[in-house]
Subunit: 463 residues, 2 copies
């Protein structure tokens, strides 16, 4: 049926309309800011979601942003602030009047305040903390006591709990009697007398069960708890793997201290992915809001490492100056060797890095995956050896050149397949993020081995 049914790719027109609309909105906001027309600016903002206002602020340049923020004044609330990319959050917060900032913070839930605070500089952090009510400040300070990127930072502290022995009726009556239920909750967490979470019940299940039913008999299988110090990336993985909606968080004594909800886990999954993509692309932590100088500074180290490895490849080539001098066709063909090896290595590496991130590549199947990559590299190597052998003969009229490039192709694609999976596995083993450093190592290996095989064989055969 796959081929019979219509498939949606990207709905072009809609996307185009969407873009056009966004562009008009951004242009209108800039216009309003330039004219100092506050009424117009607020009119532009009115229909927008806070996340879209944050995106708008990220898309304009720094001068425009300052003007817009000053004009909008107290329209900038906590929700907008918590949506703003952390790269420009410092800048935005410095632009805001202290009173506006304090008011914005007071309207947020404690986990959102924590999320904003952790990226601020100390002076700003203190200013914000002072603006909070005592109760909120204590909650925020407790959350900040947990390590960065931990469950403790991600969780909300507001949880609806019930003793294990309660019935559905007890739980409903208890909730109906409460005046301050959390804004967002989907489960009632059952706790034992020592306040340790033991199970949970969904609100939907509660609604559809008889009053006399014990809560114990309608708990969900999906129940999982996390330690407050657990790494947020592992939590996001677990939410996706086990289809969790809510998960209780416990302290070192097993006591309930908060819950994580799926929307926060989804945001973490998205951030983790962003990090992987950028690291694989040889870019650190970077966004469109960064200034030109910042991106020069952030990309420079990666280019520097790349230069060092490229020089290594050049040194290999310089060992074979004689044969290059004798047969200039080799210099012409060199980029093909490097490019094919680099590409095949990147393919194999991308699959391995992704499989490590999704826990699909483990000790159980590592050997099989390595063997598969080696054989696949060899097979593609043979295919391209034939192709390049023929190209070499036709282009340069020399069967020997054809032979040399063909053999180099086989060696290089075999090594590319192997190093593409072995390098990420090794980095993962020693605790380095494979997304971060695999690329450099893999292309260094394919360049060095490729040039060595190609020019070395050429020296033997052609000199």
């Amino acid at each position: 049926m796959n081929d019979q049914t219509e498939t949606i790719e990207q709905p072009e027109d809609e996307t185009e309309d969407d873009y056009a609309l966004r562009n008009r909105v951004v242009a209108a906001a800039i216009q309003a800011a330039n004219d100092g027309d506050r009424a117009l600016l607020l009119e532009v903002f009115e229909p927008l979601h806070p996340a879209d206002i944050a995106d708008l602020l990220e898309q304009v340049n720094v001068q425009e942003r300052t003007k817009i923020l000053q004009l909008a004044g107290d329209y900038i609330d906590g929700e907008i602030l918590s949506e703003i990319d952390e790269d420009i959050r410092n800048e935005v917060i410095e632009t805001l009047e202290p009173s506006v900032l304090a008011e914005a913070m007071r309207t947020l839930e404690s986990d959102d305040v924590v999320d904003i605070l952790e990226d601020l500089q100390d002076v700003q952090q203190e200013a914000v903390l002072e603006a909070l009510d005592v109760v909120d400040r204590i909650a925020v300070e407790q959350a900040l006591a947990y390590p960065e990127f931990s469950a403790g930072r991600l969780m909300q502290r507001e949880v609806v709990i019930a003793p294990e022995h309660w019935t559905v009726g007890d739980a409903i009556d208890h909730m109906r009697a409460q005046s301050d239920l959390p804004e967002q909750f989907y489960h009632v967490v059952l706790v034992d007398p020592r306040h340790r979470p033991t199970a949970y019940v969904t609100l939907g299940r509660l609604m559809s069960s008889r009053r006399e039913m014990p809560l114990q008999s309608i708990t969900e299988d999906s129940f999982r708890v996390f330690d407050a110090v657990e790494y947020e990336g592992d939590i996001a993985y677990a939410f996706n793997q086990y289809h969790l909606i809510t998960a209780p968080v416990i302290d070192e004594n097993g006591r309930l201290v908060g819950v994580i909800t799926i929307d926060d886990a989804m945001a973490v999954l998205d951030e983790e992915h962003e990090e992987d993509v950028l690291r694989l692309g040889g870019v650190g932590d970077e966004s469109l809001s960064n200034s030109t100088l910042e991106i020069v500074k952030r990309r420079f180290p990666w280019l520097g490492v790349n230069l060092a490895t490229a020089i290594l490849a050049s040194i290999v080539i310089s060992l074979f100056e004689d044969v290059l001098q004798a047969v200039v066709a080799l210099a012409v063909l060199m980029p093909i060797v490097a490019s094919m090896g680099g590409n095949a290595g990147t393919q194999s590496m991308t699959v391995a890095v992704r499989a490590l991130a999704t826990r699909d590549l483990t000790g159980s199947n590592a050997f099989r995956v390595v063997r598969r990559e080696a054989v696949a590299g060899l097979l593609n190597g043979v295919i391209f050896a034939v192709v390049m052998g023929i190209v070499g003969v036709i282009w340069f009229g020399s069967p020997m050149i054809g032979f040399v490039i063909a053999v180099a192709m086989i060696v290089n694609l075999l090594v590319a397949g192997l190093s593409g999976v072995l390098v990420p596995l090794a980095l993962d083993k020693v605790g380095i993020d494979p997304a971060l450093a695999s690329g450099t190592f893999v292309t260094t290996v394919t360049d060095v081995v490729g040039f060595f095989a190609f020019l070395g064989l050429a020296s033997v055969v052609l000199l």
Copy 2:
């Protein structure tokens, strides 16, 4: 405070333990299958989540998988099937007894059946459809009538609705009286008399409101509806951007036909990520479960395209055989030009592709981003020009070679920055996924321009 607090990277020991545990479990399952010991196999499976059993089946090889499946028999239920990677789902389903398959399908919700069916071959699809009850079959067939990757395929059809004029008490009484509420729901959707969704109320809010409160007065701001034919990737984006938990889906007349929940949106977001990463790495749709021949077949076309572009670069070089013959140092330095250009281009492209995927790069800021990339490329070019100029002079004792590589570096990094953002923008404009094809185009541009600038200038200066 950032630098004062402890930061979690990857919790090494835990991960190691985790891996070790998984490896032991996989080994035990293989052992049980080889010994034909069903009791042991089920003992291994018992503590595992269906998603983990599916992962286990993905990690063993095809012979082991067949043995395990035959031994496990009717232990393989719908939940396990729906977690299995689509690449091996056909194989697994063929291994199962028809009666086991039919029973497995009957226990699933209709959206999970759809998810499994859409990847099956026609014959298998019909066999599964026949195994379903009439009511389920009709629901599944209706879902399959929506395009692949659409909201209609992703949604569940079971929705809890309430007329707009109801109070909290009405809604609670209605739900308490129902016998077949959906397994999973977090909102009550308000519909008008023509069954069009107009708002929703969270179950939590319902619990904390007085009985006489009109539902209309406790609706959520986050309410958003999607068309049944909308692309699932756009829906996943919207869930993450607007922190949605549930979203109603409507037909072409605006009538409610189902709801999408965040756990399904999170799974789509993860799949979209996977696609982006693999495409950026020059791999199509591939997983660790693919056989060696399959990966050879899938990677071959990408390598073929790469070969074509590498030959283009070689042709450029062949234009300058004279100067290469005269100054062999140029051949030694060529890979540095190619590698630095390719790397800088990939950096700029990665940021652009990611920003397009997250809708951060739009018509409003495209010009600013292009200018930023150009200036950043130029600045890094100047820095590396100085470095390489010095290296060139020291290594080859020739100021002229230093001068040539320095100028080539500036030209190449400028072009890399520009093409890195212009190529994805152009591909996006003409409706091609920038993740899919940007890499090839960008490195072709940097190779061709780089070699042309380097060798061309060398011809003028050195010959």
